[in-house]
Structure formats: C-alpha cells, structure tokens
Amino acid sequence: MSPAVFHFLWEVNFGAVKEGDSVRTFGRLVSYQPEESKATLSIQHAARQHQVVVQTTFVEPFDPIIGAQYIVLGEIEKAEGGDGVMVHARVLNCVDGVNLALLQRGVNEQRSYFRERGESKGDAATAAQQRAPL
C-alpha cells in the first residue's frame, strides 16, 4: 500500500501526484451531491480559489457540514470528463477549527527536512510548490 503523502490542494490540481498514488489533502467542504457521491473541497491560496472533487463512495454515509474544514485521504484518479483529477476518498474526516497556517507550516517543515536529506520523493512536491510559491 503506498503511503498518503501530504499535498496542498493547489499541488493536487497542478498534477503533483501521479494517478493511482495515495494522497492526503485538506480543504473546506463547499458542496456535496449524495446521489453522485461527490463532494467538493476548496482552499484559498495566492488570491485564487483551488478546488478538487472527492469521490465519497467508500466513506458514506458521512455527515456533511458545508463550510467546515475536511481532511481527505485517497487515491488520485482522472476526473470524469477528462479534465483534471479527483480524489477517491478512503478517509474523510471533519477537522473544523484546524489552524490552517500551522498545518501548512507543519507540512513545509517536514518537506524542508526531506529536502535537506536529499530525498527524491520530496522533489515532486517541491517542484509543484515552486510553481505556486507560498
């Protein structure tokens, strides 16, 4: 089983994670269509809204709190319609109240350590990060 590495929503949209790989990401729940088992997470970054569609078949039923922060762990798949990617969730937890800035700092702290260590695994994330500087 591949580990679910932390990525930010904008990185997921920029294709930082290969199709089929596991990913862990977070965002605000903006919409949920139970009949299609699809939820949309959104996050604001560098004056832009980034969104990603989450397939929720494996995690239903869940209590959707629109506007709350959620963390999702799942596999990257091609989005229906062929445009972009979506996350097929295996875990979808509400983390409303999370300190987003601190969470970002935590993720970056871990990444900068792996960069120091010269890990090639960190390179995909850092390349995406450089495209959208924090």
């Binding site: 591949s2 580990p3 679910a4 295996r90 875990v91 509400c94 983390v95 109240g97 871990q110 350590y113």
Partner: protein
C-alpha cells in the same frame, strides 16, 4: 550526514559497532520517533536479530503516530495498517483480556485471570471507600450516585473505545520492530486511539520529528576512544569473530594441518585498516625489535590468542612443540583417530577393562605415551565423539569407552 546503509555497496563500507557497546547510545533505550519510511528501510543487525540500524544507531523500539488505513481483527489481537504520510506499516496490537465484557466468548471460556479478579476487587474497594468519603462530605444522598459496578463498566467501555479503531482514525503505537514473513511490523507494547479533532497532535508531531532527526537521529553514533579500547568490549568481540573465522575456514577447506601464517591473512580485515602493506609484505616474520607496524603486531596477537582458544577447546593441537609451529586439526588427524582406536582395541581385551571399558583419563595417558604428549583432554573428547559417530567405539558410561 552519514547515509543510511540501504544500498548493498554502502553495507560493505560501514561496520556495526559491537553489541556490547549499544547501551551507550541513548537511542537504543528510547522509543524512537522515526518515520515509517525509515523504519521499513532500516538495516537489520547481523549480530542480534530484532535490532536494526538507522544511521549507525542501534534501534530497538519505535513510536509512530498515523492514520489507520486497514484493519484485521482476530480473537486475541488487532492488526492495524498505520500510515504516517511517509509509509505504511503493520502494527500488531494485542487485546487486553482483563477489559473483556462478561458476555464475551473469551470470558465464557473461563479465561478470567487472577490479576483481573484482583483488579476488579481493588476497584470495588476503592469505590466503597470513595463513596463513604463522598457521603460524609456531601450528605448521604451522594452515596447512591457512586456505583462501583457502573463505574467499572464505564472504565471498560473507555478501554474498549481506546483500543478498537476504525479506518481513518488516528493511532499512536509504541513498541519493538519485528520482521515477520519478510515484512516489518511493530509489536505494540502500547497503543491507543488519539482524539485529534483539530489536528493539533498531528501538527505538533510534524513540527517535532524533523527536529529530533536533526538533533539526534541523523547525528552518527560516535564511540569515544575510551569505549573503543574497553578490554571487555571490543577486544572480546574481535576475538570471538577471529575464532569464528578460523573455525569456519578449517571446516570449509577440510584442513588437516596448518601453520599460523597460512591463516594470518584471514584475520587482516578485523585489525585496524591503516595500510601497512610494505612492511608486512617484505618481512612477515620480523621480530619485535625491528619495529613492525602496529596493525601487524595486533594481527599476530589476535592470531595467537585465537589459536590458543582453539587449542583450549581441543579443535587443534600441536603434535610436536618445536620452532616450526604446526597445528593439527583434531578431528581430521587420521593417525590420532587410529591410535585411540588401537588403544581401545588392545586394552579392552584385558580382563580389567573388558566389562566396563576404558576410562577417558586412562585413554588420555595412553595417547600421551604413544602418540603425542600434547594431546589435551578436550581434544581427546572430540576424537572419541568422532569415533563414536563412526560406530568404531561406544561409550559405556559418562566417561568410559569400549571398542565395538
């Protein structure tokens, strides 16, 4: 930064510190907060199985915080797959028997332990004491609110919810690492569900672990010179390895006789690695006065000590003690075997030894008279064992032998 020895080429360069010195590394006794990726790639020790090396540190126990991504439940344990973002590892979590419900199949099988009874009684007694104190403080009506049985039930439920996790929940697990069926897993000594609604615990873990790596885990394990020179420590370890190397060589090559310089080179890698080639190539037999290099002297000493150990164990002996140091490998010395067999054949014909056979000390003195004065008792024991395995002789008692 010293790289982890994950590549086969790197393995050959780095040598494990002797196991006797591992206790000097604080990481050996701590629950190390390594990333799962590093736990999965750690190199297992070739001295002691169950101990692993990360960046020259001996690792025994780890501490992991991660999301449960798969779960297998059996009657006695859970097997949780824990994902910390760098890797996924199996975690074997034994169920705690004493917290099982009365109606559980396990307790129906009367597996109620003595400890469980004692602990329940203890909780009940404490409950009664507390309720009487409570009554005195707040009036008698308060006594009815405290019910030890229901409190015990709540405690049991809390324990149950702490150890039963579903996929997506956060698990903290601490324990030794084991390799089972070529898979690394953690044998949990402690595990519990972490309630982390706003990710505070995970965020602080993400901030702390890189610091731990920079300050402790990635700094190589340095043995200061006093530890290196401990006589009890690295010296006996070296000697043990040297003896093993010689034994393996004599066995593999089916050596019957050898001289010290025939096996000297085998021990070269154990001695300090400073290149002293010129001196040793030119004059291998140089005496102490000509000042041989330190590593050559160490080599000779190590060789002498190892050969002495082999002699004490009876594996080798010197038939004739003279300038020419020739060692005979006991079990392959056909003349010695024949001599012992002949002694037994002749002496067992005599009435004195016919019934009970010959005592080992009698055989020893005969061998020393006829064959060589330098055969030790240990060597003779090995010869007698070899002959008995061959069905040439048989032991009639603990220390008596007769011919077949």
């Amino acid at each position: 930064m010293q790289p982890e020895a994950t590549e086969p080429e790197e393995d050959s360069v780095w040598e494990e510190p002797p196991s006797m010195l591992w206790g000097l590394d604080p990481m050996f006794n701590a629950f190390n907060r390594l990333y799962v990726k590093d736990i999965l790639h750690m190199r297992e020790s070739c001295q002691v199985s169950g101990i692993y090396f990360y960046n020259s540190h001996p690792i025994f126990k780890v501490d992991v915080l991660g999301t449960v991504v798969y779960k297998r439940e059996r009657e006695d344990f859970f097997c949780y797959g824990v994902d910390d973002g760098t890797g996924v590892i199996n975690s074997l979590c034994w169920k705690d028997e004493q917290w099982r419900e009365q109606g559980d199949p396990a307790t129906r099988k009367c597996r109620y332990s003595h400890y469980s009874c004692v602990s329940t009684l203890f909780v009940f007694t404490v409950g009664c004491v507390l309720s009487s104190v409570w009554a005195r403080a707040f009036g008698s009506s308060a006594c009815e609110d405290f019910n030890p049985a229901s409190e015990l039930k709540k405690l049991r439920q809390a324990q149950h919810s702490s150890s039963h996790l579903e996929i997506g929940e956060l698990l903290r697990v601490r324990g030794p690492v084991k390799t089972s069926r070529q898979q690394r897993e953690i044998m949990a000594s402690t595990y519990y569900k972490v309630s982390d609604p706003v990710m505070a615990v995970q965020i602080s873990w993400m901030m702390e672990v890189p610091q731990l790596y920079r300050q402790c885990y990635d700094k190589p394990f340095h043995l200061d010179s006093s530890a290196q020179n401990i006589q009890g420590g690295s010296a006996s370890y070296l000697l043990g390895r040297a003896t093993r190397i010689l034994k393996d060589f004599l066995k593999e090559k089916e050596v019957t006789r050898f001289r010290p310089y025939d096996v000297q080179d085998l021990l070269q890698p154990l001695v300090s690695r400073q290149p002293q080639k010129t001196a040793s190539e030119q004059e291998p037999e140089a005496g102490p006065s000509s000042g041989p290099p330190t590593s050559f002297k160490q080599l000779r000493e190590l060789l002498q000590k190892s050969l002495q150990i082999l002699q004490d164990e009876g594996l080798v002996f010197r038939k004739v003690k003279c300038q020419d140091e020739v060692y005979h490998v006991t079990e392959r010395d056909k003349d010695l075997l024949m001599a012992v067999r002949d002694i037994l054949r002749e002496d067992c014909r005599r009435e004195k030894y016919a019934e009970k056979g010959c005592h080992i000390l009698h055989i020893l003195s005969s061998v020393r008279q006829r064959y060589s004065r330098n055969v030790s008792k240990a060597a003779l024991v090995l010869v007698l064992k070899a002959l008995e395995c061959n069905s040439d002789i048989i032991s009639t008692s603990d220390s008596h032998y007769t011919i077949l």
